[in-house]
Symmetry: C2
Subunit: 80 residues, 2 copies
């Protein structure tokens, strides 16, 4: 079955407390290579066929149910 | 600055209540094309250089801080 991936990330101008918390923990754990962290969500949607109608529906789902368009951006792509 | 993406998903054999909740909501909202949903996390890590040492450190971070290896799988890749 084809899978469609929806990535939901906080908009760049929005504060991201979860990402900040991870970033703040890194030096305490001895990690120095990472300069910033943003945390978002990833959804894997299994679909019968990854055709145009289905992808249009997934975009609608991503916009209305999986993300909050005021504070989050989403991206839809078909998994290889 | 190069960015490294860490995707963290529940292992296939692990129950995923968040994904199930999304999947259960879809028919009620009039969406019929999706047959299964899994929900995970996506991290964007900004690094000074995406070299081998940095990627090794990011793998270590993903394993110890970003995921729970008992119930989650993670994947690391450099963003284009």
């Amino acid at each position: 079955m084809p899978r469609v991936i929806v990535d939901v990330m906080p908009k760049p101008e929005i504060l991201d407390p979860q990402g900040k918390a991870v970033h703040g923990a890194l030096p305490r754990l001895g990690f120095a290579a990472v300069t910033d962290v943003r945390q978002g969500k990833r959804f894997e949607l299994e679909v019968a066929a990854a055709d145009e109608a289905t992808l249009a529906e997934v975009h609608k789902i991503a916009e209305t149910l999986l993300s909050n368009p005021v504070i989050e951006d989403y991206a839809v792509r078909v998994a290889e």
